[in-house]
């Protein structure tokens, strides 16, 4: 479908969100909790916090939950009963809307989708992703940690959003990218006014401070470079970069329960932990924190792009903002590009 364009007043946007909540949509939006802002379920528009740039965490957990049941089991004598975990999430998210997220977070979904459909299809991910409706709001003032423009997106990118809202005075322009967004707009057509593309304010000329292709070309040739070992000596391996990242998707599989009943689950994991690659023999391919941070950079800026022709990073900057050692991935990627 070709993009369609609408206008909606700030007042009507509030009515729209309250309306879909009344219509039994589950709306996930930036909302304040414990002195910070996270994506969470809201019961009315007033509960959103649209003043902040980005919630602390991405909304990755709505695509790849922190813990997911792959199957449940019960064992009695020689009989093993297995209940497929997919049954629990069939049709998941059919009436779930992510509202008020940013273009970086919206860009992460299609990037992860490629990993989960490479050869083997992960229907857990697909089932959650295909039904989700994403209504994002373009950023007006990215901060110093942001680098979505370098990562082939922009603060005003509609990539991955079903509807992108761009604020303009006391109204928003709504760029509708597909059927899912259009159906929602049509259901509330009294709140939206269709407009022409040329009425929508043009995107600003966002400047890049490095070229990611150069970062990749450094990584292509410098696996053994001292930079990795020296720069990441300060890394304490806490893994917060991977947990807060909207595209980091590595997981662990564990059994939880006993030999009678329980479940097999997958949990978020992190390449920053030594045990991640530890062999049974005691051998570990990635011994130092430098080895492990290098893996994260390699996966984001080289490995993924060689398979899927995009990068495994949307430039949201969360890994830098949340890093207890203030490792700024934007600076790192820029340094690498400069050394290429």
């Amino acid at each position: 479908m070709e993009e369609k364009y609408f206008e909606i007043s700030t007042e009507n946007l509030k009515k729209f969100i309250d309306g879909i909540i009344t219509d039994n949509y589950e709306v996930i939006a930036p909302t304040d909790k414990d002195g910070d802002t996270f994506y969470g379920k809201i019961n009315k528009f007033e509960e959103t916090n649209l003043d902040i740039l980005l919630p602390k965490m991405s909304y990755k957990e709505y695509l790849l939950p922190k813990t997911e049941t792959l199957f449940e089991y019960s064992i009695s004598g020689v009989d093993t009963e297995v209940k497929d975990g997919l049954q629990n999430i069939a049709g998941a998210n059919e009436k779930r809307v992510i509202f008020g997220g940013r273009p970086c977070d919206a860009g992460a979904g299609p990037i992860m989708e490629k990993v989960f459909n490479w050869d083997y299809k992960d229907e857990f991910f697909n089932e959650r992703f295909k039904n989700l409706t994403i209504i994002s709001i373009a950023c007006e003032k990215p901060d110093n940690y942001c680098f979505c423009t370098e990562m082939q997106l922009s603060p005003e990118s509609s990539y991955g959003s079903d509807i992108l809202l761009k604020k303009s005075g006391d109204k928003y322009f709504a760029i509708v990218t597909g059927e899912k967004g259009l159906n929602l707009v049509k259901a509330y057509s009294n709140l939206f006014t269709e407009t022409a593309k040329d009425k929508v304010p043009a995107d600003k000329d966002w400047k890049k401070i490095f070229e990611v292709e150069k970062t990749k070309s450094f990584l292509d040739k410098n696996f053994e470079h001292n930079y990795f070992q020296e720069r990441f000596l300060s890394c304490i391996g806490c893994g917060v970069c991977t947990y807060t990242c909207p595209t980091c998707h590595c997981f662990d599989i564990q059994d939880e329960g006993n030999l009678k009943e329980g479940r097999r689950i997958r949990n978020w994991d992190s390449c920053q932990f030594g045990i991640f690659t530890l062999h049974t023999s005691g051998h570990n391919p990635r011994v130092t924190q430098g080895d492990r941070y290098r893996q994260r950079l390699m996966h984001k800026f080289k490995i993924y792009s060689e398979k899927f022709d995009k990068y495994l990073c949307v430039g949201c900057g969360r890994c830098s903002r949340n890093c207890p050692e203030d490792i700024d991935i934007k600076e790192v990627a820029k340094n690498l590009a400069e050394m290429a």
């Binding site: 696996f223 662990d252 059994d255 006993n258």
Partner: protein
């Protein structure tokens, strides 16, 4: 909608206590083996204790069962170690690439296995022995730290009695017993003493990283094997086996999907990340 993480239940037909801490388990699904190729692997588990990754150790041509060998070392393997014949093991697979036997037809082959690394070697080796006429001279070199650490002792005679097949078994210095009849020496050292030449030959090498490193050096530099004719496997830690969980990669190569079988030439182009 298929759940790619859902295992099948396989029945334990036979358990062979190979050494004090290793076993071979023979399994069937619906009363027979499954379709797989030598070099491939699967995820095995006692449900409730977690999955482990093992390569198949039997020849795919033996249709009555499929088998794997394992050392008891953690929670999952301790669980499997406690099972009896008739019990069930959860299984997913087969996954990964395989040894391409079509490229080995008509050639001399040397199989080199170290320790529990003999398990994947056994699969491809027995596959070749099952169709003995398709290959030239076959040499088997198997080494372990001590006599007590040698797996598959009960079938050594079966291997050795094939025509035009030489079987050499060795233990590391200090690992021999008074009545030991085999060789004493590290695998790469004994390998060097064998009358092998690189031309029209294929080498299959599996074992601990240090053994692989020196065995490859010997094969290439002293015996003239081309890097493309030396085949080995990588044994990185895995969880999903499906190219998703993100831990088995070596550079841009995913061992679970692009491997586990690689030629020495392919390994040469990979970063030192394994």
């Amino acid at each position: 909608m298929e759940n790619i993480y859902l295992p099948k239940l396989a029945e334990i037909k036979e358990i062979i206590q190979e050494t004090a801490d290793t076993k071979t388990i023979r399994l069937t699904i619906d009363g027979k083996s499954i379709d797989f190729l030598p070099g491939q692997f699967g995820e095995f588990s006692l449900i409730g204790e977690g999955e482990s990754t093992f390569g198949f150790s039997s020849s795919p041509l033996r249709k009555e069962y499929f088998e794997f060998s394992f050392r008891t070392s953690g929670r999952a393997t301790t669980g499997i170690n406690g099972l009896n014949e008739g019990d069930k093991i959860a299984f997913r697979g087969p996954y990964g690439n395989y040894f391409d036997t079509s490229k080995m037809h008509g050639k001399d082959i040397v199989f080199v296995g170290g320790g529990i690394g003999m398990a994947p070697v056994k699969s491809i080796m027995e596959y070749c022995l099952d169709e003995r006429d398709k290959y030239g001279k076959i040499t088997i070199l198997y080494g372990a730290r001590t006599v007590g650490d040698l797996l598959y002792k009960s079938i050594f005679d079966e291997w050795k009695n094939h025509k035009d097949t030489e079987f050499v078994v060795t233990v590391d210095p200090g690992g021999e017993t008074p009545d030991w009849k085999g060789k004493v020496g590290f695998v790469p050292t004994i390998l060097e003493q064998l009358p092998l030449k690189g031309e029209n030959s294929i080498a299959v090498v599996c074992g601990p990283p240090i053994m692989i490193k020196f065995a490859l050096k010997t094969l290439e530099e002293k015996m003239g094997f081309g890097k493309e004719n030396i085949i080995t496997t990588l044994e990185n830690r895995m969880k999903c086996g499906l190219g998703k969980c993100g831990r088995c990669n070596v550079g841009s190569v995913y061992v679970c999907k692009d491997g586990p079988v690689f030629t020495a030439k392919e390994l040469e182009s990979l970063p030192n990340d394994f």
